[in-house]
């Protein structure tokens, strides 16, 4: 299983800063609004397999929305 990203949707402010730093460009604006009225981002199930686990998105997010997970066998990949 490759890398995986979780968004805490209730915290997302829809700023889209994460979308521009993702080297694979898999983060997109969704059509959903959260309780605060922000249009949240998402990675579709099909796109998730392209995630490199680089965590650039999390580093860029000003709202600590993003958690990135890597499977153990992938440890040698991008830091």
């Amino acid at each position: 299983m490759p890398s995986r990203v979780e968004f805490r949707e209730d915290r997302c402010k829809g700023c889209l800063l994460c979308t521009e730093v993702c080297p694979t460009g898999i983060i997109q604006q969704s059509s959903r609004f959260n309780q605060k009225g922000y249009k949240v981002v998402e990675i579709t199930a099909e796109m998730m397999s392209e995630c490199k686990g680089c965590a650039f998105c999390a580093m860029m997010c000003p709202d600590f929305v993003i958690n990135v997970f890597k499977s153990e066998s992938e440890k040698g990949g991008a830091a």
Binding site: M1, G14, C15, E20, G53, P62, F64, V68, K70, S73
Partner: protein, 253 residues
């Protein structure tokens, strides 16, 4: 069986609360840099935060540290008192550009010049964010704000003050650096700079200062993405990034 590892590791000192900042505002990122540095250096339990007036006035809700709120611009004076009374504590101020470079100009200059052994994190977003985007001393010439509706006029109001350069010129300063958080590369450099600033305080070397170029999408009337770009296209050319003072630089290289 494959086991999953979590790559992201948010410091505990960063509280689990949604911030009140606007979408894309860099204050949140700057808070995280401080949280990471204090955690990496093992300083969390021993640090006193001196908050200032501006959008970051509630920083004590987001960093789980002992904290004191100071009157507008006076954070360096308050921090001076705390540090002199408790030299065993790590003391830092977190200030915006309206707070630090306008109403608080005297306090920061003398604090730096005296070489108080504290750290200042200076978040420069070129406007008074909290009060609705008035012109600050750091507003760029030509920049439109609510109090410079046709753009800042150099003739009437001078040009943007470059604080890090001025601070670096003062005798008591151990470390002065300007960073940005608009790209991954710059965030990595900013992480190192904030960490270094606190390390210098631990070593008792004198005043340490990190200016963070930051967005205020709301008062710039820009989308967060456009505001983030403005850091690269307009701010960095006028406010160059880099180390302006480092008393240990020669020994290190």
């Amino acid at each position: 069986m494959t086991q999953e590892l979590r790559v992201t590791n948010y410091p505990q000192v960063l509280t689990d609360r949604p911030t009140h900042y606007c979408p894309g505002c860099h204050h949140g990122t700057a808070h995280r840099l401080v949280a990471e540095a204090l955690t990496d250096l093992g300083l969390v339990e021993n640090t006193i935060l001196v908050g200032s007036i501006g959008c970051s006035v509630f920083i004590y809700n987001y960093l789980s540290l002992d904290a004191i709120e100071s009157p507008h611009g006076r954070a360096p004076a308050v921090a001076t008192g705390i540090k002199r009374a408790r030299p065993d504590k790590i003391v830092f101020t977190y200030q915006g550009d309206g707070d630090l470079a306008s109403i608080g100009m005297a306090e920061i200059m003398h604090c730096a010049n005296r070489g108080e052994n504290i750290t200042t994190i200076f978040v420069n977003n070129t406007v008074y964010g909290m009060t609705g985007g008035q012109m600050a001393p750091t507003t760029l010439v030509g920049q439109k704000t609510t109090t410079s509706p046709s753009g800042r006029s150099q003739e009437d109001t001078g040009s943007a003050i470059r604080m890090t350069e001025i601070i670096a010129s003062l005798g008591g300063v151990a470390y002065a650096e300007r960073v940005a958080v608009n790209t991954i590369k710059n965030i990595k450099k900013a992480q190192k700079a904030v960490r270094k600033a606190f390390e210098y305080q631990v070593k008792g070397l004198g005043f340490s200062f990190v200016e963070v170029l930051a967005t205020c999408p709301t008062n710039w009337h820009m989308t967060p993405l456009a505001a983030n770009k403005r850091i690269e296209t307009e701010m960095i050319p006028y406010f160059p990034l880099g180390t302006y003072k480092d008393v240990l630089a020669k020994e290190e290289k």
